[in-house]
């Protein structure tokens, strides 16, 4: 009887014993989870993602946790919606239904800022390859430059599913992507100021002229889907889902589906995605030099993205005879609408009569299309090269 009691008590203490003997990495990960909670709750940094990711990380790192074992709750979520890229795609439907492309349609040349804002992806890819990452790892890390969490997770999982990158890397990539998206208000202004003169920053831009017909707004997602699908079919799931959401919104005939996409579907997918991604952050697999390098390269990607957009803006400023404010180029990333609001605030800081918001919104939605297009083209080129 006494033996049975002691065995029972010993079983209860097994977790604590494990933590004390071999749980160092897990303890560090629990501290990282606590940091994520702090950032989400006290600082309001991407709470919708960091909170569930942090909790998933906590669950996966408690001693003897079986949440990521076969049939474990987080493993089930991972297999159900991450391993097959379903959750990021469902989130994309929501993003599409929440995005208003009207400023872009009214001034389509702003879409080119969306291309310049992807420069960080391709330059980071080169740096990652030079640092010794494999081709698939380098592409995954470079995608942080898309400034678009679901795209990063989609691409990384594609490679993780093919066992070309470690699953633990997906968690690092996701956390890096969402962290830097949240840090855009801190990262972008110094780069904007560094690359532009006071005169350029104070350049006023005329208000966006003309309105866009509902028919053009409805046709837009169909045209984009067809054209981008023909050019880069490997990215069709990404572009198709974002455009499906926008198509439903613009038609106005499926309000229930639109609302479900931007609320219930996006929310449920975000919760499950965050938890499952957090589950991949197991201490011994996560705490590696590569993880630090992922964060460093992610920072480089976002910085180069912003610089690319601003430098195109400067070129445009010169070519237009000083009619385009180069700051608008900084909005050519996918962090919507944060980047556009930043440009508006920065522009007004140097000229109170500066109203850049609509131009910046156009560039920002261009950045959303640009980031997905860059991922789509990368995947299609990789298929062409026989890498995937």
């Amino acid at each position: 009887m006494v033996d049975a009691l002691l065995s029972g008590l010993s079983a209860l203490a097994e977790g604590a014993r494990h933590l004390a003997s071999a749980g160092g990495p897990n303890l560090i990960m629990i501290a990282i989870a606590a940091t994520m909670f702090y950032l989400a709750i006290a600082k309001g940094v991407e709470p919708l993602l960091l909170l569930p990711i942090g909790f998933g990380c906590l669950l996966a790192n408690l001693p003897l946790s079986d949440v990521m074992d076969a049939d474990g709750v987080l493993r089930t979520l991972y297999d159900f919606g991450i391993g097959n890229e379903l959750f990021p795609l469902l989130i994309f439907v929501g993003i599409g239904s929440m995005t208003d492309f009207t400023p872009l349609l009214a001034n389509p040349k702003l879409l080119l800022f969306g291309a310049a804002g992807q420069l960080g992806i391709f330059l980071t890819l080169i740096v990652a390859l030079a640092l010794g990452f494999t081709k698939e790892e380098a592409v995954s890390v470079a995608m942080i430059g898309a400034c678009d969490g679901p795209t990063v997770i989609y691409v990384a999982n594609l490679f993780a599913g093919l066992e070309k990158i470690p699953t633990a890397m997906v968690g690092a990539l996701a956390v890096a992507a969402y962290s830097y998206m949240a840090l855009v208000p801190i990262l972008q202004p110094p780069i904007m100021r560094l690359l532009t003169t006071k005169k350029e920053r104070a350049t006023p831009m005329p208000s966006v002229k003309g309105t866009v017909s509902p028919a053009a707004r409805i046709a837009f997602p169909i045209v984009v889907t067809i054209i981008t699908g023909i050019i880069a079919p490997k990215g069709l799931p990404l572009m198709g889902m974002i455009m499906l959401g926008n198509f439903m919104k613009e038609t106005g005939v499926v309000t229930r589906l639109t609302k479900a996409s931007e609320n219930e579907i996006a929310n449920i997918s975000t919760l499950f995605l965050g938890l499952a991604i957090g589950g991949t952050m197991n201490g011994p697999d996560f705490l590696k030099t590569e993880t630090l390098m992922v964060f460093g390269l992610g920072l480089l990607a976002i910085v180069v993205d912003t610089a690319g957009g601003v430098l195109l803006g400067k070129l445009w400023y010169v070519l237009s005879g000083g009619k385009v404010n180069p700051l608008v180029g900084a909005a050519g990333i996918s962090a919507y609408p944060m980047a556009a609001r930043l440009v508006q605030a920065e522009g007004q800081r140097w000229n109170k009569q500066n109203f850049l918001l609509m131009h910046a919104m156009g560039a920002n939605t261009g950045g959303q299309i640009g980031s997905v297009m860059a991922a789509a083209i990368m995947l299609s080129v990789l298929k062409g090269l026989g890498v995937i």
Binding site: G114, K135, A216, F220, I227, G366, M378, V381, L385
Partner: protein
Amino acid sequence: MSTFTFGATMLVVGMGGTLLTLYLLTLLIRGLTRLLPARPAVRAPKP
């Protein structure tokens, strides 16, 4: 394929392809908005 060839290919084809595709889209959007122009709002006649 060497790492250098891979990186250079991705940079040129990837960035170039993104830029060209988005430029093509700007032309298509311009065509779309001309083909389907916004109609001026019709004011109701004064009673």
